[in-house]
Amino acid sequence: MLINVLKQILIDLWTHKLRSFLALFGIMWGTISVIMLLAVGNGFQVASYRNMMRLVDGTFFLIPGSLSKSYRGNPSGRVINAKVNIMYQIVDKVHNIKEITPVFQKRSDLNVANKKRAKDVYGVSSAFARLQKIDLINSSRFINKLDVLNKSRVVVLGSKVKEQLFGDDLALGKSITINHVRFLVIGVIKEGTKKAYDWYRNRAIIPYSTYITMFGNENVPYFIVLPKASADSNVVENNIRAFFARHYNFSFNDKHALNIFSTTKFFQFMRWFFIGIKLFLGLCGALTLAVGALGVANIMFVIVTERRSEIGLKMALGARRQQILSQIMLEALLIVFLGGLFGFVISSFTILLIILIGTPDWMGVPAMSFDAAVVTIFILALLAVAAGFFPAKQAASMDPVEALRKQ
């Protein structure tokens, strides 16, 4: 019987080729939309997480700003000029600080022989490598406490900077000049390992003390702070804010005076953000799929109308309502199944093609995740039932006398 039903369905589909193709195409297109959108969303999420990897979970970025309202004689708009020495007081007064570094940054000219490049030079402490997950090539070292203390003229180069200034030659132990001041290359950052975003590949890093001496600017643009693992992140954040508010005389609630960017909160936000993006993309695809399901429902209504006499005859011969219902449902399911199957196959090939062609770094590599497949199959099944149910119900509730009369 099942073979007969399947045969009947295929005959029906073949008899109305264009209509069947359009119904199948609707489902196929919808399936492709859902899978592709979720796959692209997935790739984007992975790429974005990879980009965020340089942010150590749990760190704070402290960015001094200006007062948004006057406070105890301190006028609104006054700029908070945080100096490096505040860093030591933070460690002393705010408990549970594990690591801290100031971060200075300035565009500077880097020279080797006749090669000259303008790059961002960072002035940081020895903790910076740990706080930013910086990996160095073999035989390299990062800036240490002694370098900071001695204001050593040592530099760590990003992989691209090294490539541009030294080509394939060794850079370690060689000299470069930064704004005409000679520096010794002590480290080179590893080329992107996909474990961390290569944020610093086009940058050079020197001790902050050397930076201040060179550029004369003691105002720290921002600090990166890592609390101890055992510490409550919110408490530490509040304590830092309270310390700054006391020290620089602004209101504890004046977020504008000290902007604290918490990576923990950021990661939490991003997790929800990507769930939102995926939901949105999935919904867009699902709506396309729903339009396809409407096409299937439409073709099923036509099939039911055209086969009234057959349905009437089957009822006269003893077919029960459920048997008529299940036959029509099965037909709708088959159309959706075939459309879905083609959609899955085409999406897989398209994703493969996109991977082969390549995508920009920010977009990531589209990947058909297990979740996306499950969601798509679930939506397909739901729509197949919805598309088949109403025409099937119409067929099953036909009056056999009326159905037999329409011949």
Partner: protein, 221 residues
């Protein structure tokens, strides 16, 4: 025990405020093995009577006892079961499914009884051979003549070994020779003990049955 007993059967169709009485207070008894014709002009109510006798529709009022069981108020699915077990239909335009071969067409009622494919096919082939269609098993309805198609339809009506064969204008779409063959076939089935009810407007066909029920304006005359 009577095979069929209709007691005060009425069928009224309502369209908005308009009422149409298709059958009015019909009383009819049919015994097992009878061969009768329900005769009437177009619009007389004979088809409505056939639909009620065939459990394709239910009366507005009255009782229909089939084998002593009142089937007038059964549910849709219960009526489907009764049709499958007790009634065989022969239609004017044969009503064979074009996409099935004649064996599958004949076996179709057994599908709804849950009989296994092998057994269905065996039984259908036996019946088709009995009606002289042994060499046409793989044929589809459109490959057969009208007379052959009606023989397939009769074979289908018999496959469930029903109590009654209801034939609605069985010769209406046939030439006189094929029509005559079909009537002979029904007569023979009656001789073998089957209860045959022919619904027709053709006096000549009706006269060949043992009993004629004349129906005019929804009433038995």
């Amino acid at each position: 025990m009577n095979l069929v007993e209709l007691k005060n059967i009425s069928k009224i169709y309502k369209t908005g405020a308009v009422k149409f009485i298709a059958l009015e207070q019909i009383n009819l008894t049919i015994n097992k093995g009878e061969y009768l014709a329900i005769l009437g002009p177009s619009g007389s109510g004979k088809s409505t009577l056939m639909h009620i006798l065939g459990c394709l529709s239910t009366p507005t009022s009255g009782d229909y006892l089939l084998n002593g069981k009142n089937v007038a108020s059964l549910s849709v699915n219960q009526l489907a079961k009764v049709r499958n077990q007790n009634i065989g239909f022969v239609f004017q335009n044969f009503n064979l499914l074009a996409n099935l071969n004649i064996v599958d067409n004949v076996a179709l009622p057994l599908v709804y009884r849950g009989i296994a494919k092998e057994e269905r096919t065996k039984k259908a082939k036996e019946l088709l051979t009995h009606f002289g269609l042994g060499g046409h098993f793989s044929h589809h309805a459109n490959e057969l003549s009208g007379g052959q198609q009606q023989r397939v339809a009769i074979a289908r009506s018999l496959i469930t070994e029903p109590d009654i064969i209801l034939a609605d204008e069985p010769t209406g779409n046939l030439d006189s020779k094929s029509g005559d063959d079909v009537i002979h076939m029904l007569e023979k089935l009656n001789r073998d003990g089957k209860t045959i009810i022919i619904v027709t407007h053709d006096e000549k066909i009706a006269e060949r049955t043992k009993q004629i029920i004349r129906i005019v304006d929804g009433k038995i005359m």
